[in-house]
């Protein structure tokens, strides 16, 4: 008997006025924007490593291991970027091979 209270919801105005399907918006930032940002970050890392190497060459480096670690970080971030590019290119070539 108490279930009848639920039926009152159907009587609310505007319940049927909802659109049948909601248009999905495109994400604000696409893959290209993300990729460009990542390229920028990798470039910044490479610049840091480059500056460290310059400082090492002119002889004003306090600790050598920071230089090596920055080099490693730059290398890893570049490898990640290269792998992302490889995957994207693989997908592209897969699409290009599609028979029509």
């Amino acid at each position: 008997m108490t279930l009848e209270a639920i039926g009152a919801i159907a009587a609310l105005p505007g319940m049927d006025a909802l659109p049948a399907s909601v248009a999905v918006d495109k994400p604000a930032a696409g893959f290209d924007a993300w990729f460009a940002q990542q390229v920028g970050q990798v470039d910044a890392g490479l610049r840091v490593a480059d500056n460290d190497l310059r400082a090492l060459a002119v002889g004003n480096v306090q600790n050598l291991h920071e230089v090596m670690i920055h080099l490693e970080e730059a290398k890893l971030s570049f490898q990640l970027l290269a792998q992302v590019r490889n995957r994207v290119l693989e997908a592209y070539q897969e699409v290009m091979r599609t028979q029509v």
Binding site: N63, I69, E73, L76, Q83, N86, R87
Partner: protein, 144 residues
């Protein structure tokens, strides 16, 4: 892909071991530097390392709190008595002909040197392990 944190932890370890090496080298270098008096003589230094306390966000967010590495707490003079040597002709000799030299324990300093070196190597190995792990991660889904 937060391998930079692992690198930072290892880097802090390397920095502290480098400091330990520097301080030990200074102790050994000053082993025979005489002082004008027993109070003014060089005192062997000692590196005190401490764990970096976790930040609030680390403590709050981390289910398994990862350490934040190590930091230099202080470099303190060791409480050792100066070594008194009988050298009447020395310009710093006192009334009894005794000259004060730092009480550097040669054996202990060499041990410090070795442990600092090995600990540095261990930090490098840990960092290389993190790097290898990151590189293996990039192999996921790769050709062959």
């Amino acid at each position: 892909m937060d391998y930079a944190a692992a690198f930072r932890i290892s880097a802090s370890g390397m920095a502290i071991e480098k400091t330990r090496l520097d301080v030990t080298a200074a102790n050994i270098a000053n082993m025979h530097s005489a002082g004008t008096s027993a109070g003014a003589v060089y005192r062997p230094m000692k590196v005190v390392a401490a764990t970096v306390p976790l930040t609030f966000s680390q403590q709050f967010g981390a289910l398994v709190a990862t350490g934040g590495g190590v930091q230099l707490a202080s470099v303190e003079p060791a409480q050792v008595a100066p070594r008194m040597v009988y050298e009447p002709g020395h310009p710093y000799a006192d009334a009894q002909g005794m000259v004060a030299y730092p009480g550097v324990d040669h054996t202990a300093e060499m041990m410090n040197l070795n442990t600092a070196l090995r600990a540095y190597e261990a930090n490098v190995v840990a960092m290389n392990a993190a790097r290898t792990m990151a590189a293996r991660t990039l192999d996921i889904g790769g050709q062959s």
